[in-house]
């Protein structure tokens, strides 16, 4: 099968074009570094099927981070290169184009974001550019699909350029001549959007605006999540699912091993969805009715911030703080993604340059950034006792993030690199792309969460029936009861937390814990170890040695902080 590569600078619309041509849903955002691994998809050509490969963005063929390395390594494997350029920044994009022409592979140049170039008063003579580069040049608007037919039909017209190798300095001179020949920019004044763009990056206004935006996003997520649960998911389970489960319970005679596995224990002949620990009750209710509404709301607002182009601005505003914990501003992106799910968060840390930064970022995220599933359960469980508990849990995690970050920064050799980030313009989000992205993320959440929740519940039921939980509870009593002040049964939560943190927190409900105990248990569960999915990604990214180091820090800090919290809460509250 013929292999076609999409290659270009970061944030020029390669992933949107890939998604349009193959129908494969990939996450595309308005900031550089969204794609950190190559993605393959199949599309129909005129005569045969074609394999299309979306590569991470790179500014040149000399990679500066692992994501760029993936792109440059892929170039030799392609039969045809589609070089995607941002028509609004032609000059900067042309360096990579000239480097690609030297590779002597059949190539097509695509000028994307053609509509925005017109709005900005940029006129490009496509015919002249085609002649100067020696390969076909096609103009497209990937978001709306304009020009894609012409692009597909031009695959056969791709030409192998015959360009001599020249130095980077000479390439810039050549680019200067090309721009002079093909591009005319009409002078115009700054628009309101551009004035706002400059303002939101200035310290005083920028930080005030960021606090306001983040607070509004938090309120909106809470509002959407709570209302979806109250008016849609809870009635759905109560009115439609409960009668079916009750009939099944009667069919199974209301007891026995199979009843315990499938439905769990009934409370007063009613289904207690969080407490019963059955596959068809808790196993479905927790991920779908308690967690999914918040995850959905979070991803809608995250996607909105991504597509508007706000996250890179947040990176600049946070750079000063991030340096204190051994990172730079760009690290806020993995942290932000980690708030949804730690897995994409850990993967996104590939945009960080050094091994040291990746270690600090992943360790801090695994310890002090709870995923949205976990956050939803903490809000659901502790929220019932008032705002104090929730504030205490998240306040503690934030403090741990800062203090541990400072300790890691001081104790690990090396320096945090300086920030270097291209800031994209503000763009009005394209609704179809936005909801496609939410759909991809929700689908991935459901696929992963349902499997691990069901596995976790099955596993814990088997451990209970074999008496293993009770046995481990007795062995670990000096730590669980002595240091953390929790009952022995809480060890079940810690075991299951390795599979799914949300179920682990749900398992605390039947234990009848006090508010202080709930706070300690939630903080320890958030910190002590990542869930299995995050663990696998961290192991792959960090390697065994660094993963063991990171795990050691997690376990020690979780029990240390849990012990201190237990002491403080029982002394002062």
């Amino acid at each position: 099968m013929k292999k076609i590569l999409l290659v270009g600078n970061p944030n020029v619309g390669k992933s949107v074009l890939f998604s349009r041509l193959t129908g494969v849903n990939v996450v595309a955002s308005n900031y550089p570094g969204t794609t950190i691994e190559f993605t393959e998809g199949v599309m129909s050509g005129k005569k045969e099927k074609i394999k299309l490969i979306d590569t991470p963005g790179t500014y040149s063929l000399s990679p500066t981070c692992s994501a760029e390395k993936v792109a440059t390594e892929m170039i030799q494997k392609g039969d045809l290169i589609i070089n995607v350029l941002d028509a609004t920044h032609l000059e900067r994009n042309l360096l990579l184009t000239l480097q690609l022409l030297e590779q002597k592979k059949p190539m097509i140049v695509v000028l994307n974001i053609w509509d925005e170039a017109k709005h900005k008063g940029i006129k490009i003579n496509v015919k002249k550019l085609e002649k100067l580069l020696g390969v076909p040049v096609i103009t497209i608007i990937a978001l709306t699909g304009e020009g894609l037919k012409k692009l597909v039909s031009s695959f056969e017209k791709a030409k192998t350029p015959c360009t001599k190798q020249i130095s980077t300095e000479k390439k810039w001179c050549k680019i200067g001549k090309i721009i002079g020949d093909v591009q005319v920019v009409t002078h115009r004044h700054h628009t309101l959007k551009e004035k706002f763009r400059d303002l939101t990056i200035k310290p005083l206004f920028g930080i005030t605006f960021a606090i306001l935006i983040l607070f509004l996003v938090f309120l909106a997520i809470k509002f959407v999540g709570e209302n979806l649960i109250e008016y849609f998911f809870e009635p759905l389970f109560e009115n439609l699912w409960s009668p079916i489960i009750l009939k099944l319970s009667v069919f199974l005679n209301g007891e026995g091993f199979l009843h315990n596995i499938l439905i769990g224990e009934l409370v007063g002949n009613k289904i207690a969805y969080v407490e019963s620990l059955g596959l068809l009750t808790t196993g479905l209710f927790v991920p779908i009715a308690m967690v999914l509404p918040y995850v959905f709301a979070f991803y809608v607002f995250l996607s909105l911030l991504e597509d508007v182009g706000y996250l890179p601005r947040l990176s600049v505003l946070m750079d000063n703080i991030m340096h204190r914990v051994g990172l730079h501003g760009c690290s806020i992106i993995p942290m932000f993604l980690g708030l949804g799910c730690n897995v994409p968060g850990a993967l996104a840390s590939r945009i960080l340059e050094s091994k040291r930064e990746k270690f600090i970022a992943m360790t801090l995220m695994a310890i002090a950034i709870p995923c949205m599933a976990q956050t939803a359960m903490i809000i659901g469980l502790i929220g019932a006792t008032g705002a104090f508990g929730i504030g205490f849990v998240f306040g503690t995690l934030f403090l741990v993030w800062i203090v541990l970050g400072i300790i890691l920064n001081k104790s690990i050799k090396g320096e945090s690199p300086e920030l270097f980030m291209e800031i994209p313009p503000y763009r009005i989000p394209h609704l179809r792309t936005l909801f496609k992205k939410v759909y991809v993320r929700i689908k991935s959440f459901i696929g992963e969460a349902l499997l691990y929740v069901l596995l976790g519940i099955l596993f814990i039921n088997i451990l209970y029936s074999l008496g293993i939980i009770q046995f481990v509870g007795k062995i670990t009593a000096p730590i669980i009861t002595g240091i953390l002040g929790l009952p022995e049964e809480a060890v079940g939560s810690l075991i299951i937390g390795f599979l799914r943190k949300d179920v682990a927190i749900g398992m605390l409900l039947p234990l009848g814990l006090t508010v202080n105990q709930l706070i300690v248990a939630s903080v320890v569960l958030a910190m002590y170890f990542p869930c299995i999915a995050t663990f696998i990604v961290m192991l792959k990214e960090l390697g065994m040695k660094d993963m063991l180091k990171s795990a050691g820090i997690m376990v020690f800090s979780a029990f240390f902080v849990g012990g201190v919290l237990n002491l403080l809460l029982n002394t002062f509250f």
Partner: protein, 51 residues
């Protein structure tokens, strides 16, 4: 850092427009060839002779 700036078309003599850089340790944001770029203040002080 210099290589990164180079591949974005910023080299000795390139005209840039400063967007934001007011407090110490704050990243510097500048516009060059229509693109806004943020770089750490430390390196910005070493690179740019005239700001």
């Amino acid at each position: 850092m210099l290589t990164k700036l180079n591949v974005m078309g910023v080299s000795v003599g390139t005209k840039i427009k400063k967007i934001s850089s007011t407090s110490p340790n704050w990243p510097m944001v500048f516009e060059a060839k229509g693109v806004q770029v943020a770089i750490g203040k430390g390196i910005a002080q070493k690179i740019f002779v005239k700001i």
